[in-house]
């Protein structure tokens, strides 16, 4: 399932629409990195509200995206992690170290804006 990426000012918003295969996640990673470069984006929000599972591959891909886009000068915020997903992530031993997280899209954008201010943009 393709993840649509929306450009909103300095930011990109990727809203996951359902279950994703490992290939879908890898495609999302490539597409986001290329889009950050071509739009000179300052930040990316990935909305995982309807993602059915956050397994080791999904968590690792999200962490890789955070590292890659940071190398291009942008920050990543993951929004919409559901309570049961948080529970399973902790049981599985997964962390999203180095990645900002926020409750929803609005908070995520606000977080990117304040991060940009702190970095003197």
């Amino acid at each position: 399932m393709e993840v649509p990426i929306l450009k909103q000012g300095d930011y990109l918003i990727a809203s996951i629409q359902g279950s994703l295969t490992d290939t879908d996640l890898t495609r999302l990673q490539e597409k986001l990195v290329l889009s950050v470069r071509s739009y000179r984006s300052r930040g990316v929000v990935i909305d995982v509200t309807v993602l059915d599972v956050m397994d080791s591959f999904a968590a690792r891909t999200l962490r890789s995206i955070a590292v890659m886009i940071r190398l291009l000068g942008a920050e990543l915020v993951i929004v919409g992690i559901q309570p049961e997903i948080a529970f399973s992530m902790v049981q599985l031993g997964l962390t999203l170290e180095g990645t900002m997280t926020s409750l929803d899209l609005e908070d995520g954008i606000a977080m990117l804006k304040s991060a940009a201010q702190n970095n003197g943009h």
């Binding site: 295969t21 059915d52 599972v53 591959f57 309570p83 049961e84 399973s88 049981q91 599985l92 997964l94």
Partner: protein, 132 residues
């Protein structure tokens, strides 16, 4: 006893297996975060099949014990097998591109977990989630 088998040979099958597992678990009265734990564990062991064995299958069985119903998941492959299971069950151990959380992680997510493997013959993981 109901049996239900999903062939696992590509990442799309990993997704189908976790969907099937969730569907069957709902039918057994398993609910809430247990469904997510179950689907996540299926995702991990199904991915192991694709990564290490290339092809295998996941069987779903309804089991009962002491008046409680549960969903048993059996993952089988005839791949290279695991030489040192104790090591594979340690957090952080991985020989492929995984993060080494697959097997020990799946064990923590489920109520029962068993693994049998023989080098050159394959691996069989069976795990159960019981209704609350």
């Amino acid at each position: 006893m109901d049996a239900d088998i999903v062939t696992i040979s590509a990442d799309i099958d990993v997704m189908s297996a976790r969907h099937r597992g969730r569907e069957l678990a709902i039918g057994l009265g398993i609910s809430g975060s247990d469904l997510t734990l179950l689907a996540t564990a299926i995702s991990e062991i199904a991915r192991n099949i694709v990564q290490y064995a290339g092809i295998g299958e996941i069987e779903f069985r309804t089991v009962t014990h002491g008046g409680k119903r549960g969903l048993m998941i059996i993952a089988r492959d005839t791949g290279p097998g695991i030489a040192d299971i104790a090591q594979a069950m340690q957090d952080g151990y991985s020989t492929s591109r995984g993060m080494g959380l697959g097997l020990p992680g799946a064990k923590r997510l489920m109520d029962n977990f068993e693994i049998v493997s023989e080098t050159g013959k394959g691996t069989r993981v069976s795990m159960i989630k019981w209704e609350q």
